[in-house]
Amino acid sequence: MKDFPEDSVGLVTPQSIHFDQPLTLASGRVISQYELVIETYGELNSDASNAILICHALSGHHHAAGFHEGDRKPGWWDSAIGPGKAIDTRRFFVVSLNNLGGCHGSSGPNSVNPETGEPYGPDFPIVTVADWVKSQARLADHLGIQQWAAVVGGSLGGMQALQWSIDFPDRLRHCVIIAAAPKLSTQNIAFNEVARQAITKDPQFHDGRYYANDVVPKTGLMLARMVGHITYLSEDGMREKFGRELRSGKLSFDFNPQFEIETYLQYQGERFSTAFDANTYLLMTKALDYFDPAADYDNNLATALRDVQCEYFVASFTTDWRFSPERSREIVDALIEAGKKVTYTEIQAAHGHDAFLIPIPRYMEVFGAYMNRIANSLENNHAR
């Protein structure tokens, strides 16, 4: 048995929860039954008031913290979740799930459709952020959590947190939105379309029924990830990390990858293409494109936020150009206009959009201070 770092939640085991109450989606389609895979860290207190929901981003999943048996690398947000970390598992009960449509165990394109006995593939319905939130509310019911202490997410995860506060105003006390946006920009959608085209034009895609042919559209998924990855980094961050370094030290006058950045992107793309499902990638990018909670309120975000009850913590990163600080400020301005409680911080960071996953000291300080205040007020209520 290996020793885990002291501030790690240690060995974790996912669990799968079956839901057999049909879920009607925004598209009008219905999923008759589905599985959600989750992980939990920490202990739920007696009145179930210390629960935190973690919403994942585009390529995320339920494994946010700790280690799976035999793994060397911890979950994707281990830097923020654990004993003594920003989301302190000694004080909070943390729930992290793989969203509907995902490819890490929750029902999605690569899971078997119980009605046909075949993988859903392209027949899996398009899910929206609001659909996810609805399914997460059912998960909360299942876990006996009437009200989350906080719903927390970065990027697409932050969008889910924002949607939660609008759709279930009395079911969360705090909403933590990191490196997100109130809707995608035209440029964001354009990048997503390049990613989708790369996947669907891959000869191995087979209209999304590649499982039957026992192949995956590897090249397409790899290209999609490469273009995505460029948008996650800042220009300065990229230059600092890779510069114009050549692998062999000199130009080779052929088309093989020579610059470090080429090798890095290919490696990232390659790794992703074997670990992620192409149909899920298509779904996730659509969920991003469709997200626009103000659309139902005359395109006025402040109106959409009129009935929210929770307090907000919004954070952005200076070099993030995928969801820039201006986009977070749109959320903040709307919250101020609606007269809601909000704290906003803009973190100096060179890492671009990826910064939300990196334990930058200032980021962890303010995030930790906010979470600490939530925990303090919980414990004060209990002491009373």
Partner: protein, 196 residues
Amino acid sequence: MRADLEIIRDWIRPGARVIDLGCGEGELLEYLVKEKQVQGYGIEINPDNITACIEKGVNVIEKDIDEGLCGIRNNSFDTVVMSHALQTMHRPDQIVEEMLRIGKECIVTFPNFAHWRARFYLAFRGRMPVSKFLSYTWYNTPNIHFFTFKDFEELCVERNIYIVDRTVVDNEHKHRWWIRLWPNMLGEIAIYRITR
């Protein structure tokens, strides 16, 4: 609480919508929210102050006020407060305009450069005054615009800004009867309530 904040807080009515530009550690807002049930927001740029506000539970927005307040709608606040920060702004006149745009009423406090001690310092030592409230040297001071009560009031006249109230105090923010005799010479800190 800093004495000028004590004066300011009495000028704010219960339940008001308040924004404090350069709110520091958020002590004024914390008091106003607790005791006067205001809906309060603070704007701050100093990291330690922001953290202190988060710990207190004060709504704090990280923002450089010099970049303007666009994003905040016209007349969305009852009271806009700026205490001891106007002299640090690149364009104090534009900030005052912004404050009057987003709020119905503004409260501004700033140090008086025409205070007798400052005058003497410059007149006899021939150097830029250094005092308790202007405790920096010329090259590292955040106070980049020095102005006097008279200067500020002239700006108000030029821009059709109405002065509702003015209180002039010494550097301990105490009222002294003699300050009223010659405020621009004897007062160190002014607290103005302005509107349009």
